[in-house]
Amino acid sequence: MIEGLLSIFTLADLLDIAVILIVVLALNLMAGYAGIPNFGMALFVFIGAFSLAGIGTRVALLLTSIVDPGFIDRLSRAHLLIAKTYNGSLKDILLYGVAGDPMVNRVAAPEMEKIVSQDLILSMILLVTVLGAAIILGALMGIIASFAAVRLREDYLAIVLLAFSEMMVMVIFAQTDVFVGGPNGAYVVKPWPTVLEDAVKPITPPGISSDLMIALIVSLLVLLLTFVYAERIANSPMGRVLRAMRDDDLVIATFGRDVPLTRLKVMAVGAMIASIAGVLYATIRTPVVASTYDRFTWTFVPWAMMILGGMANNWGVVLGAITIYVGQRLIYYYTPSVFQAMVPILDVISRLAIPLILSSTVLIIILLALRWRAKTDLERRLATYTIIGLIGFVGSTLILAVSIHYIISNIVYVQALLPKIFLGIVIILVLYLRPQGIMPEKPARTLSRRELKEILARESR
């Protein structure tokens, strides 16, 4: 059974999980510990993708043109469309070329990749540039975002951050061709040198590309580093400062802590981490289309994972993220078989529809009477919930029975959308039943247990 379950997941999924985990850990730092309601995470992740697809490709073009001056000519001769587009200088190409035209992009990118990856030095330059850009741009975005946090109340801040993220990603980047190819997206030049690919080949399972393998290994490494970093911050004096800032920033300001500066640092670091995650994600999910970095996938889902797992608890949010990711995949995978299995039952129910409705109506009337005569608040509430539950249950069963055949014939859509609906319901339930999450925040342990014991022993003497 475990075998069967595991077979649903591929290594590409593992990369997805690693990336989203990095993002959630970054979000936990910003929102969980520092209390900044960052609804603009999508932007930070996208900036990383942009660094790879927008900046990286241009740098790669520059590098290939230096190493192989006839590159563009060669390409134009081989592909007439490129010839049509480019008759100009390198400057033109750098500004408008690579990212803009999908045809050009799709053809040029792999060619450049071939050239760049052969040479270790070129690869290194590309890698460093891309990472550098991701880090710098990420930090920049984080800093800009932190300026808004200075003077705004919680809910206004959340809206502004959301608006900022939407504006940058959905409007500017998604609509303008120059940056990342607009609606068509841009292909990437992966910055991994061939030596790395060769090194990885032995451990690559059959059927998996070495690109995926490298990205996976790097992602897991980054994930590990991020987790260690997050934990260290959490259990350090800085962690206490962040929490104090979250809970009452006026108090901590009077103690001499520079609140805006601390916020700036948190946002900058968090954004940098998310940006790197974006780079890793983009190496595999090509072409990079800006509109896919939407607020649902990269802002809401991480928040959901953080809340479910437990805000301000790094182990918690990891657990929450894995739970949601795995849960959604499971729902996706098992939806067809579950609905198929329901068909016979539902057919029976649809034939019994009338008696079912009649008996539930009678039950509801009885429950209403009981509710009206209830002596205590508890009894009344119990009756209310039972009525709602009954209506919901019978109602949805009947709706299902009526529509089951339509559902089966459109099972693809059901598969795709049901996990999202479930996620929405789960989040509301979590907020209602256990808002502190699966693993609630634990107190900061700046001193290890051993040190604490020693101190306590000393004090009692």
């Binding site: 809910d155 059901v414 929405g424």
Partner: protein, 343 residues
């Protein structure tokens, strides 16, 4: 050249009316629950879905193209859809309040948690709607998702202007609903008690007013406004897609924030202004820019119409940072003294 064509003007006013109604609803729910309802645009698109189904099941064969003598009958669609949508979406909004926001608020969940809850409800509603559209077979429209609703609008030529029935109807409906709401809130005892409950629920309770009922009615009305507006807005959308809700949410927020989140009249004005700005304003700006560039001898064609959201978003950010009270709170002295939505 710079001024818009009359057709476009009519379109612009219609769009402004849609936003105005949506903004009123959003501000109303914000005043009651103190939380911006991220699901509001999806409520509007739910209203559009009502129109979609009515068209598919009932009115398809009555369209003037297929039935030349049926124009009068077909026109009843423009009445039935908003009314039905008002009720249905009103109930959906009420459900959002009763099942999600009220229980969570009573649990003590803070603003951010409640915002996430509205996002979650948005996700549920949006995807459930999409699912319904995929699963339910269309009788006439081919495919419910992507149905070209615009084509079902009735063309009208008024004073030489070629426009459509929905675009003429929208401003009328907006004015009607706004006036009705105003009458309700100021002339009826229950309406006044609604305003009282929103402002000071403790005092209202002490006076024997059923504050809970007031809140429920407010949410129902907000949803109703969204539904009615969405039902007619359906004719202005290129092709039916729930995604459109995703995009218009920004404009609705912009309008409400511009008007000041505590003022219904502000929302009306703000929504309308944003609607005008996004359409006429943008086109005029583009034409002006083009003119300027042409004068300077540059032959670049300027298309900034795809950036309409950008301006709405800029407005949101600027207003919140500088004057969070919006239009309703314009007070120059206060502006200089306070300077921002300080905590």
């Amino acid at each position: 050249m710079v001024l818009p064509s009359p057709e476009f003007l009519v379109y612009s006013i219609a769009y402004g009316s849609v936003l105005a109604l949506l903004c009123i609803g959003l501000t109303l729910t914000y005043m009651v629950t103190k939380v911006p309802n991220f699901a509001h645009a999806t409520l509007a698109i739910t209203g559009a879905t009502v129109t979609l189904f009515l068209l598919d099941r009932i009115y398809y064969s009555l369209h003037p193209v297929r039935c030349p003598g049926c124009t009068m009958q077909y026109v009843t669609l423009y009445l039935l859809a908003p009314i039905l949508a008002f009720i249905i979406v009103g109930l959906v909004a009420l459900a959002e309040y009763l099942l999600v926001l009220r229980p969570l608020a009573r649990r003590g969940i803070g603003i951010i948690g409640l915002m996430i809850a509205t996002l979650a409800f948005d996700m549920i509603l949006y995807n459930a709607l999409s699912l319904t559209l995929y699963i339910t077979p269309a009788e006439n429209l081919g495919r419910l998702m992507d149905a070209p609703l615009k084509g079902f609008d009735v063309g009208v030529t008024l004073a030489g202007v070629n426009t459509s029935f929905s675009r003429l109807l929208l401003p009328l409906v907006a004015v009607l609903l706004a006036v009705a709401l105003h009458m309700f809130l100021t002339r009826t005892k229950f309406g006044v008690s609604l305003r009282a409950s929103i402002e000071n629920p403790n005092l209202a309770r002490a006076l024997g007013i059923n504050v809970d009922l007031a809140y429920m009615v407010s949410w129902f009305l907000a949803g109703g406004l969204a539904g009615a507006s969405g039902a007619l807005w359906a004719f202005m959308i290129e092709s039916y897609k729930p995604e459109t809700a995703y995009l218009i949410l920004v404009s609705v927020f912009a309008g409400s924030i511009l008007g000041g989140l505590g003022s219904i009249y502000g929302a009306l004005v703000g929504g309308f202004l944003i609607g005008l700005a996004e359409t006429i304003g943008l086109v005029m700006a583009q034409n002006l820019l083009q003119l300027l560039l042409n004068i300077l001898g540059l032959t670049v064609t300027v298309t900034i119409t795809q950036y309409q959201r950008f301006f709405s978003l800029i407005i949101v950010i600027v207003v919140l940072l500088i004057a969070p009270q919006g239009l309703a709170g314009i007070n120059i002295r206060g502006l200089l003294a306070r300077g921002g939505g300080l905590r």
